[in-house]
């Protein structure tokens, strides 16, 4: 059975143990990805140049780095948030050895349902004037509920129809987008209550003269932390790895495999719903073409983040970092003024490179762990022979 948690036997001296723990902290699973991020960030900061922006406080002009600017980083975080949140959900599915091709469509359907509701109670809708105290939570429930329901149907399809998740989610990808299309009659829905857009998701904070929108970033971090904790510390979280590592063994061990699978697909839908809610609030509109092609970006983010498509491996933080790497490349292409026609080649190449670096890092880590285990075994044998 493949799992992410190595069994380590520590029979070293306290000083040595402390040094090992510190070095292990530095060698955690996402070190390779963080390295890639740092290198990318460093390259962008060095080569993007600087620009002069008016300083509202002093009234003068300040020279700033094009990449390392609060509003650019905030924009980068906002653009990453949609994909990162969905990639966290997709990672859960991928850890169980499944795949969810319908994330883009679930995102679209959740957004469209929420948009129709918000448009109805918006300033130009028939329900204008309704209290935002229930309209805003209502919209949130609709987005999250629609996403979760779609994911639940995917999970039930996978479990009860016993069809490969690729096929089920390929089908639902078309069905959910089709439903969104029929519901909207190809119209874009806009004019939402301000309390949902400017008052909540697009809430603006002024920081040293830069207008920042911290809600998408906060939600992305919140989802990642909660999902990361769940995977690592909750019993079901550990079961998810077990199912992905060896489904048959998990079944024979008495794990509720079907229930776990349904849960991960429902969670994937929930994350699509959260991303849809952020998109609705930030852009203030939705139509049936929202999230077109996002499934591949989301799966790419999860895979770059270290999730293994054969199952048993993946982390929530990795998914976030994977999404961030892809968005940083996009951002870099704009900042460095690289011809957009080359963007797909660059993104593809960097994805392959990031995965390769992560693979090298994983191999080195596995070798280190094997050496540590061997050393522990030898040390134990030595102690036993002395006695």
């Amino acid at each position: 059975m493949k799992t992410d948690q190595p069994i380590l036997l520590n029979v070293e001296s306290p000083q040595r143990l402390s040094a090992m723990t510190a070095s292990r902290r530095l060698r955690f699973k996402e070190t390779g990805l963080l390295g890639v991020l740092l290198v990318l960030g460093l390259l962008l900061s060095l080569f993007c140049g600087s620009l002069e922006v008016p300083n509202r406080d002093t009234g003068g002009v300040t020279t700033v780095n094009k990449f390392l600017r609060a509003d650019n980083l905030d924009n980068l975080a906002k653009n990453t948030s949609f994909f990162a949140i969905m990639a966290v959900g997709a990672t859960f599915v991928i850890i169980t050895g499944g795949i969810d091709l319908s994330v883009g469509s679930m995102y679209c359907l959740a957004a469209v349902c929420g948009a129709m509701f918000l448009n109805y109670f918006g300033p130009r809708g028939p329900g204008a004037g309704a209290s935002p105290f229930w309209v805003v939570p209502g919209a949130i429930v609709i987005c999250l509920g629609t996403g979760t329901l779609c994911g639940l149907l995917n999970g039930l399809g996978v479990v009860f129809l016993r069809v490969h998740p690729f096929v089920i989610t390929l089908g639902t990808m078309a069905i959910y987008r089709g439903v969104a299309f029929v519901m909207t009659k190809a119209q874009a829905y806009t004019h939402f209550p301000e309390q949902f857009t400017d008052g909540l998701i697009r809430h603006q904070v002024n920081w040293h003269g830069a207008n920042l929108y911290p809600v998408p970033l906060a939600m992305m971090i919140g989802v990642t932390v909660l999902a990361g904790w769940y995977l690592k510390h909750a019993v079901t979280g550990r079961h998810i790895f077990a199912v992905g590592g060896n489904e048959q063994a998990s079944l024979f061990s008495g794990l509720p495999v079907n229930r776990i699978k349904v849960k991960v697909y429902a969670f994937s839908g929930l994350t699509a719903g959260i991303a849809a809610m952020i998109m609705l609030g930030y852009y203030g509109s939705a139509s049936s073409d929202a999230g077109k092609g996002y499934e591949l970006d989301v799966i790419a983010a999860a895979v770059v983040g270290g999730a293994s498509l054969v199952g048993g491996r993946g982390t929530a933080l990795g998914a976030l970092l994977g999404a961030l790497i892809i968005q940083m490349i996009n951002n870099g292409i704009v900042i460095l003024n690289i011809d957009q026609n080359y963007s797909q080649i660059i993104i593809g190449a960097v994805i392959v490179l990031a995965v390769l670096l992560d693979r090298i890092n994983s191999t080195l880590r596995e070798n280190r762990m094997a050496r540590t285990t061997l050393a522990a075994k030898e040390s134990r044998q030595e102690v036993a022979s002395k006695h």
Partner: protein, 338 residues
């Protein structure tokens, strides 16, 4: 089993005669697409509209225009004209080809198509014309095909107009502007960009920072524009030859007048931008007229046997300002049957 040489000769001769007769019959058929005289009258005609994408409201307006024109012309000409709508959900040239092939098999009399990608559609259009179906293009042309005419915006001129107006709005002094692109493969987008870039050469004080492509999806387009503007705060003008980003309200938070915007189309979602002063001027494509003219031109060609006066039947591109917002809101209610 051995066949006698005599039977072989008879069989081969028969086959040859059948083949030659068949070829002769084909040769004697009038070449389609060259119908100069009046076409034999039928009581029912079917035309089809193949637009780029279902989810773009401009094409929904074209559809309503075509259906309205069909009703009107049916009364006027005393025939029944039916309009079929065969548009892919998303921008997809290959699906458009499949739809055209299917329509030809279905026996439609005429097709009007807005090409997602001219090169992919040209063989399908030619094949349809060869099989006797009248084909025209609207919105986005396939100039190398056998289509009998094009109706829509003069895209190169449109690019010129947008950039000229932006230059006027920006005024004297040094300016940095950007152009948002959409589908890189669409000929109309390529031509508009070409027109805008060419026009900018007339203004030495204006430099173009770049053409920034994105999916023709409102949220993706808005995200790209925000990203570009944040990364390049010195950009003080946008020549929006495509205005997908304005279908969201994300850019409404921009300080009015700080960055000047001149954009294409005057869709319902874009109108608040004019009211608020974030966008200085819109140029409205005659999207409802696309449908109306498609049916009119097809009816002229197929029913009355008339050739169009101009192969390139360009439509107007009227400017829309704050004062016209109310009128356009009313128009859109009609065009989208709301």
């Amino acid at each position: 089993m051995k066949t006698k040489p005599f039977f072989k000769i008879i069989a081969l001769t028969g086959l040859a005669v059948t083949f030659i007769t068949g070829c002769e019959q084909k040769k004697n058929e009038p070449a389609s697409g060259e119908a100069a005289g009046p076409t034999p009258k039928k009581s029912e005609y079917t035309f089809a509209l193949v637009a780029k994408s279902q989810s773009n409201p401009v094409f929904q307006a074209a559809r309503v225009g075509a259906e309205d024109a069909a009703v009107e012309l049916s009364k006027k000409l005393g025939v029944k004209i039916t309009v079929l709508w065969r548009t892919p959900n998303e921008d997809d040239a290959q699906k458009q080809v499949e739809n055209i092939e299917q329509l030809v098999l279905q026996g439609v009399d005429g097709i009007s198509v807005s090409c997602s990608e001219a090169e992919t559609l040209t063989p399908a259009i030619d094949k349809a014309v060869d099989q006797g179906v009248a084909v025209m293009c609207f919105d986005s042309d396939a100039p190398a095909s056998k289509r009998f005419c094009y109706h829509g915006t003069d895209d190169i001129e449109c690019g010129h107009i947008i950039m000229r107006e932006l230059a006027a709005v920006l005024g004297p002094g040094k300016h940095v502007v950007a152009i948002p692109g959409g589908n890189q493969n669409a000929r109309n987008i390529q031509n508009r960009i070409k027109g805008a870039v060419d026009e900018a050469t007339n203004y030495p004080n204006i430099s173009i920072r770049g053409v920034y492509y994105s999916k023709e999806v409102p949220q993706d387009a808005a995200a790209k524009i925000e990203e570009v503007q944040t990364a390049n705060p010195d950009i003080d003008g946008w020549a929006m030859i495509g205005s997908w980003s304005l279908f969201t309200d994300a850019l409404l938070k921009w300080e009015p007048g700080k960055v000047k915007i001149v954009a294409m189309d005057a869709l319902p979602a874009e109108l608040p931008y004019l009211t608020k002063g974030v966008v200085q001027k819109l140029y409205a494509q005659q999207t409802y007229r696309w449908g109306v003219r498609s049916v009119e031109l097809l009816a002229d060609k197929v029913i009355l046997g008339k050739k169009p006066a101009n192969v390139m039947d360009y439509s107007e591109l009227p400017p829309v300002t704050k004062d016209d917002v109310q009128q356009y809101e009313q128009n859109w209610k009609k065009w989208l049957r709301q």
